[in-house]
């Protein structure tokens, strides 16, 4: 077993403890889970404030307002127009006042307007134009069966993909009732979609299981280190950790008994 410093061991122990706290959610909501939940929410909120400062405000605003030789009042900037987004940002702070909170709608409106304007051509390109272009397939008639049905290069697969695309589009007609031939096409479309969803589901679940295995391995490794510590260097750390777990388990048991008594 690789020798571990006391600091690393403590952090690893904390990691294993928090992992188990989160897993305890599978049993039910409990103080362990609450502790881990509040810790991760608080830490992440603080972390993202710093990220926003260093990756957002500082390079994109403050550095740009202090990067040139154009002087506007106290600003030393070659791009003083960056004051406009700065001002819009400040306007968002008016939300803290009931009287002036209406001002914050201006930057929101501007943000939404610009974002929608940027999104429209992008969505049209990515979700409409490119899809239509790709749908116009030249079927490989010479290799129609391609050895197997799941060979995506075979002509049959290409034909299924094309027909599936068209049928799926039929499903998404909202201003026409799905009856007659239309119903058949729409139903074929939703089948195609469900087959796709099923494949996607299976694929992702496999990924999630590998994540779970990774966490279990982490806890397993920690257990080995902790166990070796009973007779080794980390006896005290091990007993403190065990003591915390034991105390929390006793607390949860008392709560459980109290609940049962109340329910009875």
């Amino acid at each position: 077993m690789q020798e571990m410093s006391i600091g690393t061991f403590l952090w690893t122990t904390l990691g294993a403890f928090l992992t188990l706290c989160i897993f305890s959610f599978l049993y039910r909501d409990n103080p362990f889970y609450k502790l881990a939940e509040h810790l991760v929410v608080g830490v992440s909120a603080g972390y993202f404030v710093i990220i926003l400062w260093h990756n957002g405000l500082q390079p994109n605003l403050f550095n740009r307002l202090n990067d040139g030789n154009f002087y506007l009042l106290w600003l030393n900037s070659a791009a003083p127009w960056y004051m406009i987004p700065a001002l819009l940002g400040v306007m968002m702070w008016t939300r803290f006042s009931r009287k002036w909170s209406w001002i914050s709608r201006w930057p929101i409106a501007m943000y939404m307007g610009i974002a929608a304007g940027v999104a429209v051509p992008l969505e049209m390109k990515n979700r409409v134009n490119l899809q239509i272009y790709s749908a116009m397939t030249d079927i490989d008639w010479g290799n129609f069966f391609g050895g197997s049905l799941i060979n995506s290069a075979s002509g049959l697969s290409q034909l299924i993909i094309f027909l599936g695309t068209i049928a799926a589009l039929f499903y998404f007609f909202f201003s026409k009732e799905h009856t007659g031939v239309f119903k058949g096409l729409a139903r074929f479309g939703i089948w195609i979609l469900m087959v796709g969803f099923g494949a996607s589901f299976g694929y992702t679940v496999m990924g999630r299981i590998s994540l779970f295995v990774q966490r279990i391995q982490y806890v397993g490794d920690w257990t080995k280190v902790a166990w070796s510590g009973i007779s080794g260097t980390y006896t005290l750390v091990w007993f403190i950790t065990f003591g915390i777990f034991a105390l929390l388990a006793v607390y949860e048991f008392i709560q459980f008994m109290a609940r049962r008594k109340k329910e009875a």
Partner: protein, 409 residues
């Protein structure tokens, strides 16, 4: 015999020494003997132009390969592209292209403080070096330049996108006008949307709140924008029925817009007094911390109904599973294709992709939204017709029709 061999050896050394006399080190190295490789012929006709249809900061280079690339001496293994601000250098290496390559797009950063900043409207000089397996043996092209990069206002490669947007715009305006004129625009029944009203009623009867999750999208994502409309409708009903509403937000801007939406709905319902800002609150911008917090809320508050509408990622299954565990009725909708399967599995009703956009029109029944929904259907019909024509023409060997719809980056 030994003497003859010694004499031949001395003679050979003498000939070698005399033949190399007066030549430079490079020339000696270029000799085609076992000790040195011959330098290849340089690439020729190096040309550079501003890259078309971009925002600038990029120069497209072309050249003709060395005659010794794949033929002749056949010792060229690649090309190195060099750039300088002066024809005399110093040249900096910009790219390594494998043998056979005849071009490179030199894309630089647009930020002044970036390492590979490539300013617009500044003349640059390029040369291309044919390299061999021996790093000391190479051949360079003539220096080409100056060439400048600059941005274009109009991307000609995206004309089909413009045509589609204009077509869609006119169809939308037409149907909006028609809807405003009182035309009855039919919208088929969507089970997932009709379930929203039922779910609100259930929550009211149970005396439990409704949890509305807007997802992880930004305020500008189309799915989030559609979700605001549904939230507005839900909040109005909630205000009328005096049920509780919980809206935990991932993005602060989304939270701000959601607060405004809910507030407006409470005012529309004539219950501004019942609105309080904390019903829409910010949690954190960390994906799984947000999930942990929302999961905790589900199990503590035990909402009667969970509505997930917007953009979701890996958290979708965790949220929906926890909601199912808490015994809530769940309605979801997202345009994130990869997440729809999880919602389908764990929720009672799921709005698939575009159904989410249709939901807002279906619920609101406003001419503006109904008109746009009708226009979407016509755009889909146009897309189907174009795809079928393109498919048929392609399979008859006519590619021109397909190329009409080619969109470049």
């Amino acid at each position: 015999m030994k003497f003859k061999m010694l004499l031949a050896l001395i003679l050979l050394c003498f000939v070698s020494a005399v033949s190399g006399f007066g030549q430079s080190a490079e020339e000696i190295m270029a000799l085609p003997d076992s000790m040195a490789m011959a330098p290849p012929a340089p690439p020729s006709n190096v040309r550079g132009v501003d890259t078309d249809n971009d925002h600038g900061h990029s120069i497209t280079l072309t050249w003709e390969t060395s005659p010794d690339d794949g033929a002749g001496l056949n010792n060229v293994i690649g090309y190195k592209v060099f750039r300088a601000e002066s024809p005399d250098g110093p040249f900096i290496e910009r790219a390594l292209i494998p043998s056979g390559g005849t071009g490179h797009i030199d894309v630089g950063a647009k930020e002044k403080d970036a390492n590979d900043y490539l300013p617009d409207h500044v003349g640059f000089y390029y040369k291309v070096r044919a390299i061999t397996a021996d790093s000391l043996i190479y051949a360079e092209s003539e220096v080409f330049g100056p060439v400048q990069s600059y941005g274009q206002w109009f991307n000609t490669g995206r004309v089909p996108v413009l045509v589609f947007v204009i077509f869609f715009l006119f169809v939308t305006l037409f149907f909006i006008q028609k809807a405003k004129g009182g035309a009855n625009l039919f919208v088929r029944r969507l089970a997932g949307i009709e379930a929203v009203d039922e779910a609100i009623g259930r929550a009211t009867e149970m005396g439990k709140p409704i949890l509305y999750v807007l997802g992880l999208g930004t305020a500008a994502d189309i799915a989030t924008i559609a979700s605001y409309t549904i939230l507005g409708r839900v909040a109005k009903k909630v205000a009328e029925y005096q049920t509780g509403l919980i809206v935990p937000c991932y993005d602060p801007i989304v939270m701000t817009v959601a607060q405004e939406t809910v507030k407006a709905s409470y005012m529309d319902a004539g219950r501004p007094d019942a609105y309080y800002e904390d019903m829409v609150y910010f949690v954190t911008q960390s994906q799984f911390a947000y999930v942990a917090a929302v999961n905790g809320t589900m199990l503590r508050e035990r909402p009667a109904t969970n509505i997930y509408m917007g953009k979701f990622y890996a958290e979708s299954l965790i949220l929906a599973e926890t909601g199912a565990l808490a015994g809530s009725i769940q309605i979801s909708g997202t345009d994130e294709i990869a997440q729809i399967p999880f919602f389908v599995v764990a929720c009672d009703y799921t709005l698939i992709g575009e159904e989410l956009y249709a939901a807002s029109a279906y619920l609101g029944r406003e001419p503006l939204l109904l008109g746009s929904l009708k226009a979407q259907d016509y755009a889909k019909a146009a897309a189907i017709i174009i795809a079928i024509i393109g498919f048929i023409t392609m399979n008859f060997g006519i590619e021109a029709f397909k190329h009409l719809f080619y969109v470049s980056n």
